[in-house]
């Protein structure tokens, strides 16, 4: 198979680099074999997820079959009834979207300050944000749990188990992540741009919103997608901080297992349904994401 240069523009440089014929045979064969193995490794669970979600229950309970003997869409109907999946979906959506939105808005201001001004305490702030982001979630879980329970008792507010409390806990990871990525992205935008706006009489906020934010749209998209994905997949906090009414998908999906039986076909169907929005978003915005990541991280 001759290698055609139908490449992504991102790899234009790589394509220009060597003419396809210059690749040694040993390299081409290594590439074929290794990439095939990796593709099989990656795709097998995905295939199982899709194929099993289309099988009747008897077939996922017995010995595994590669090819379904019959296809059914019933699991996709049943998932909404076996557990209140719709409610879990809504909870996940509210919590992830709120945590992401709050973080990104707050981070825009913080990143502006950090990337455009020098002031006392800036380094302390950036180091704090950086290090809190590396700490394990379990470190924050116990105290936050305790604080919510105790503050709730003292004030009579039902904090523990509420969506608001969960949103706040999710910000323990979405906020530092957003501040860092955005500060990196802002720093990669030439200062002349907003400097000119200041000179033209915009206030600092005008420079931020009329110049810097529009220029940073790819970075903001990347941060939003990233935060949302992270929050959508979060398990640790959700396992402790939610109750029946506020349960999110990450914990709710365990409801397809009863004492005696697991509805594997429904588990797979539900997994697929909850994955589609984020995977689609990720793959569609992959380019922005890589741009945002590299502005923040790699360079």
């Amino acid at each position: 198979m001759p290698d055609t240069a139908t490449a992504h523009e991102a790899s234009a440089a790589a394509a220009r680099r060597r003419s396809p014929t210059a690749l040694p045979r040993s390299f081409v064969w290594t590439r074929r074999i290794v990439l095939t193995l990796l593709a099989v490794f990656t795709a097998t669970p995905l295939y199982v997820m899709v194929s099993s979600s289309l099988k009747p229950l008897e077939e996922v309970s017995g010995a595994f079959r590669w090819i379904p003997s019959e296809l059914t869409l019933e699991p996709y109907r049943d998932i909404w009834r076996t557990v209140p999946l719709g409610r879990y979906f809504l909870n996940s959506l509210i919590v992830s979207a709120s945590a992401t939105a709050c973080s990104v808005v707050v981070a825009v201001f913080a990143a502006y300050a950090v990337s455009r001004y020098r002031f006392r305490g800036r380094q302390v702030f950036t180091v704090t944000v950086l290090s809190t982001q590396m700490f394990p979630g379990i470190l924050f879980l116990l105290p936050l749990f305790l604080l919510f329970v105790n503050v709730g008792n003292a004030t009579g507010l039902a904090l523990y188990g509420s969506r608001g409390a969960l949103i706040l806990t999710y910000m323990t990871f979405t906020l530092p992540l957003s501040v860092w990525m955005l500060a990196g992205y802002f720093a990669s935008i030439p200062r002349d741009l907003d400097e000119a706006a200041l000179v033209d009489g915009c206030g600092p906020l005008g420079a931020l919103f009329r110049v810097l934010v529009p220029a940073a749209v790819p970075g903001i998209i990347a941060v939003t997608v990233y935060s949302f994905m992270t929050a959508w997949g979060e398990v640790l906090f959700a396992s402790v901080m939610t109750n029946d009414a506020t349960r999110t998908l990450s914990i709710g999906l365990q409801g397809y297992a009863t004492q005696t039986e697991v509805y594997w076909n429904q588990v797979m169907a539900a997994s697929l349904v909850v994955s589609v929005p984020v995977v689609a978003g990720f793959l569609l915005l992959q380019r922005y994401l890589v741009a945002g990541l590299t502005a923040g991280a790699v360079k």
């Binding site: 790589a14 795709a43 669970p45 199982v48 944000v129 105290p143 105790n150 720093a187 398990v235 990541l293």
Partner: protein, 366 residues
């Protein structure tokens, strides 16, 4: 798991030029960092660029100065307040908790819990007693798991990134496929794996036992010693795409001239990989390995979804262990003490790693 993703993006962020605050320690007022080049974009004809001081907003010089000094703090205020609320207060609380005898009866009124002094720590590191012994074993398992998972993820990531550097038919599709495990919500991916690893109706046993006949009987993957292998398999499947993503991005920044020059010198493909590609990846590797380490070492999601609240001993990662020590036995004091120890360990390793790799890099550059 994803939370650390960004930890990665973080460390190398081209943070504002370091030290510019330090250079002017006496100056209280905040300065806008000047653009590197003094010339402003050409002002249009008939619109001479006014000097900055004549900005329309200017009030009295003093008020202006105070306002501009306060501005960055004002911008930071929401972030600072939240940082305080969600990070600093809980961390301080966590440290206090570690010195309290905080068992179930005190959870709803924690200030009433008696002080325990260093008892919680003493119990946690008393390796002859059951609690300390279990913690030590969990720590050892986590270390072994981390080394293997990070090593394998990096290896797969770098291999795929290098092999996919040159265009070939279907590359875009393959890249999307490789990134999918990383984009999936953790729990959806891990639940799928737990189905694959089921004893009776799982794919793995079907292939190993029924189809290939490699084992005499179907092994259990989610209990007993095999669970370590299962955990490793799932973790690598989920983690390597991230290494791939970051390394692919890094490879796009390697100058094509380098390859052309070395090709003129007669360097073959494999030599180019060894002498150009791999060295070019060094700075990214430094961050990547650290981030993968922190993620993997702290991983809670994968073992929790795979095994439930109490993992088999051979796959009892330390985050899950602390979780279990806290929420299954409701001994928050012990859990908090273990968290503090974990934090100290992570700080130590991170600092040591950065020192070591920075020095190594400095020596290599010299």
């Amino acid at each position: 798991m994803t939370r650390a993703v960004t930890a990665d993006s973080a460390p190398r962020t081209p943070a504002p030029p370091a030290g510019d605050t330090a250079r002017r320690p006496t100056r209280a007022a905040a300065d806008r960092i000047p653009a590197p080049a003094p010339e402003h974009p050409p002002a249009g004809p008939g619109r001479p660029a006014p000097p900055r001081a004549k900005r329309p907003a200017a009030g009295s010089p003093l008020r202006d100065r105070v306002r501009s000094a306060g501005l960055p703090y004002l911008l930071l205020l929401p972030a600072l307040a939240l940082e305080l609320l969600i990070h600093l207060v809980p961390m301080a609380t966590g440290i206090v908790m570690a010195f309290k005898d905080l068992t179930q009866e005190y959870i709803s009124d924690w200030s009433a819990a008696p002080w325990a002094g260093p008892d919680n720590f003493r119990v946690a590191v008393d390796f002859d007693a059951p609690v300390g012994e279990a913690l030590l074993r969990s720590f050892a398992v986590t270390c072994g798991f981390t080394v293997l998972a990070v090593g394998l993820s990096w290896l797969l990531g770098v291999t795929a990134a290098i092999l996919m550097q040159d265009a070939f038919r279907g590359r875009g599709l393959l890249r999307a496929l490789f990134l999918t495990p990383y984009a999936l919500p953790v729990y959806a991916a891990v639940i799928t794996w737990s189905f694959l690893l089921q004893h009776d109706n799982g794919l793995l046993n079907h292939v190993l036992h029924d189809q290939l006949g490699l084992t005499d009987s179907k092994p259990f993957w989610l209990v007993g010693d095999n669970s370590f292998v299962a955990l490793l398999l799932v973790a690598v499947w989920r983690t390597w795409p991230f290494a791939f993503l970051l390394l692919t991005a890094a490879l796009q920044n390697v100058s094509a001239d380098l390859y052309e020059a070395s090709a003129l010198d007669g360097a073959g493909m494999w030599r180019q990989i060894r002498h150009i590609t791999l060295p070019a990846l060094r700075p990214v590797n430094q961050v990547l390995v650290l981030v993968l380490f922190l993620w993997t070492f702290n991983d809670f999601n994968v073992p929790f979804v795979l095994f439930g609240k109490s993992a088999p001993q051979s796959a009892d990662l330390v985050s899950l262990h602390i979780y279990q020590s806290s929420f299954v036995t409701w001994d928050f004091g012990a859990g908090a003490a273990m968290s503090v120890l974990l934090l100290l360990f992570l700080l130590l390793v991170t600092a040591g790693y950065l020192l070591l790799t920075n020095r190594g890099r400095g020596a290599a550059d010299a």
